[in-house]
Amino acid sequence: MSFNSITKTLLTGIASAVILLMPSCVTSENEEETLSLDQGPYLEDIADDYIIPAYSSFLESSISLQKEVNSFTEQPSPSTYTSLSETLMDAYYEWEAIGFLDFGPAFTHTLRANINTFPTDNFAIEIAIESGEIDLDKISSYNKKGLPAMDYLINGAAAEEVIGNFTTDPFAENRKKYLVALAQDIVDRSNLVSQAWSFDGGNYRGTFIGNKGTAVGSSFGLMVNSLSQYLESFTRDARIGIPLGKRSQGVPIPKSVEGYYSQNSIALASSHINGLKRYYLLGTSSNHGMGLYDYVKSTKASYGEELLADAILNQFDEALTKVEAINLPLERAITEEYDLVNEAHTALQKLVVMTKVEMSSALGILISYQDNDGD
């Protein structure tokens, strides 16, 4: 508690100090250079090399997932079950590469909350199945739907028992309907966002590329704000900090891990951080497009001895190493391998500061979101 609040206060302090300094930064060389730089090629690469293909991949995965759901519900058997279970994880890994793109159409369609609100409410899901009332459109349904709800329905018990739930159980038909509705909802929403980016659809790509500058509502303003907020709230807190007890006076909360029922939290977190790194770098170290990395690099901002752009890249690797060093499933590691999990948390915390404070300041972008601690 005290450690957490001190860090938080410190961080808020640093952030506010940076915000206060902002007006004076406006005339700094970094800023002028950033403004004189044509953002167009960067935005095009980010859209074409990462965002649009990533959304397409997830849409394809969600369509595959829907097919497997249909096969399984038409004929629940060990083989259709295994196939479904594997496809669900594939889709989940694909999701990890786009969940953090929380701006533009994804923001408008509240994609993240609809697809990946965890922990899911298994009790409420059972009540909905018994009553046969399926409503997936309201904000109160976030924790009863999406991938975590599917994780519960498919991985919530041993294979045999799950198959029984979909065959011999008195509510088997309702359960099938619920699972089918979940799969449909994921396809519909990922399709909406994918369409919104496409040229034939909403052409948000055009808007994105044309929305230059460093204002809060500009494309870079949106990307940096959403990235920073996501790293803070969902990468650091939701995936690691909250299960570890950082928000509950040190009391761990195993059930709040991502992918609780599949026990795949670490693999999911690893996919997620890999996705973030690819988004940042747009490719491999030797061959990459002009993305956030190059944009930060163009400011020549430094971080200690190295360039800030490289320091952030290294920190993604550092976070990845620390997360992958956790051996046990996260719900156990938070108690049995506390130090390893805590080190991963520390690495992510450093990444948050580098993005929220250093990157935003180097790019002259105001962090406009607020955490929940204000009045």
């Binding site: 509240t110 993240r112 909350a113 309201k138 109160s140 303003g221 709230s233 406009s368 601690d373």
Partner: protein, 379 residues
């Protein structure tokens, strides 16, 4: 940057200039809200400060409900009407002032019914730990902050609805519709004789009473800090909060000071010219703050943080309702109703809020207040 009050300011400057050329009495405009007659202050607004303090006690007591304690309806209603010595401050108990009888009569029932429900829900939460759900009043956490708020079955946070409700239905209502009205500061109001046992004329005092509801220090905004802890609340705080983007502190303060100086100089034209500036800027603060909280709400909706969403929506609801107190409001009553009853969920049921609804509400506000358009994402 274009600001909506520029025309008013221009008008005021014109009056200012005219007052010299037309040989009306010259107006000495001081830099602070301090005026004297025969060597002692002629400014007095203790009654307004008392009511601000009353709201602070009411709000603190309501907050006990958020902390899981049982709060009593009888005490809440007494704090609202200053009955049975409800305040910790003896001075407030004996002040003879209250919030209820200064509330816009159209809003009294709304506030009292929320006070009664706040008590009921606090009991339910304390006894059964009832959690808020669609159609169910109860407790809900804001994000993972550990901060719990009690809300109605529509997700309305009691503390915010009552605090912002009183700010609009008492403080703004009194400034706009009472003290800046013809009956209190019109040209026919007595500005010659001093009130019994006082050092001010009725018109001077009425102007001070409007100023008192704003709640800023007399040297605003030049103090260090601009607002000390005693003044960092209600409209003073929200005005200052929007100043960086909209530049409101100084023009609003100047309008109050100029109006008061004009009253001393018996210059009715200059005094009257300040009224639309004051009302317009106060209204702009409410509108800009509403946009600010709508932005926060969009963010919480996107992150799926229902507790924080309800908190900021409750704030936004109160500020939009407060706009309705303005006699000159640029946002039509029809638009206000549509935001509150439709954009903010079906019949204001926050559980049915959508991103489209929030965009529609924001759009109505930035159309009605064009100066907000440029800063709509930064607010």
């Amino acid at each position: 940057m274009k600001k909506s009050y520029l025309p008013f300011l221009g008008l005021a400057m014109c009056f200012f200039a005219c007052s010299e050329t037309e040989e009306t009495p010259s107006v000495q405009v001081p830099t602070t809200y301090e005026f004297e007659r025969n060597g002692s202050s002629s400014v007095y607004f203790q009654g307004q400060t008392d009511r601000l303090d009353m709201l602070s006690e009411l709000k603190s007591y309501l907050a006990e409900g958020n902390a899981g304690m049982v709060i009593e309806a009888s005490k809440l209603l007494s704090l609202y009407s200053n009955a049975n010595a409800p305040f910790a401050s003896a001075a407030l108990n004996e002040s003879g002032k209250q919030l209820e009888n200064k509330t816009n009569p159209a809003d009294i029932e709304f506030i009292k019914s929320l006070l009664v429900q706040a008590a009921e829900v606090s009991k339910d939460v304390a006894t059964n730990n009832t959690q808020a759900a669609e159609g169910v009043a109860g407790a809900i956490e804001r994000g993972t902050s550990g901060k719990i708020i009690n809300v109605t079955e529509k997700g309305w946070e009691f503390t915010e609805f009552i605090e912002k409700g009183v700010m609009g239905s008492v403080f703004y209502h009194q400034i706009f519709n009472v003290y800046l009205s013809e009956s209190k500061t019109g040209d026919d109001v007595d500005n010659v004789n001093l009130e019994d046992g006082a050092n001010y004329t009725p018109m001077e005092h009425h102007w001070d009473e409007a100023f008192g509801y704003w709640g800023v220090p007399v040297d605003f905004p030049n103090g260090d800090p601009v607002l000390d802890d005693a003044h960092k609340r209600y409209w003073a705080s929200y005005t200052n909060g929007r100043d960086a983007l909209l530049d409101i502190n100084t023009p609003l303060m100047n309008a109050y000071i100029t109006g008061r100086a004009a009253i001393v100089a018996k210059n009715n034209g200059l005094k009257n010219a300040q009224k639309p500036i004051i009302i317009g800027l106060h209204e702009l603060v409410a509108a800009a703050t509403a946009v600010h909280y709508i932005n926060n709400s969009m963010n919480s909706l996107s992150t799926g943080d229902t507790g924080s969403l309800f908190h900021t929506l409750s704030e936004a609801y109160g500020f939009i309702k407060a706009i309705g107190q303005s006699p000159n409001k640029q946002l039509s009553q029809a638009n206000i109703d549509e935001i509150l009853n439709s954009d903010f969920g079906t019949e204001g049921d926050f559980w049915t809020i959508t991103m489209d609804g929030l965009h529609a509400a924001k759009d109505k506000l930035t159309r009605a207040y064009p100066s907000l358009k440029n800063v709509e994402d930064e607010l």
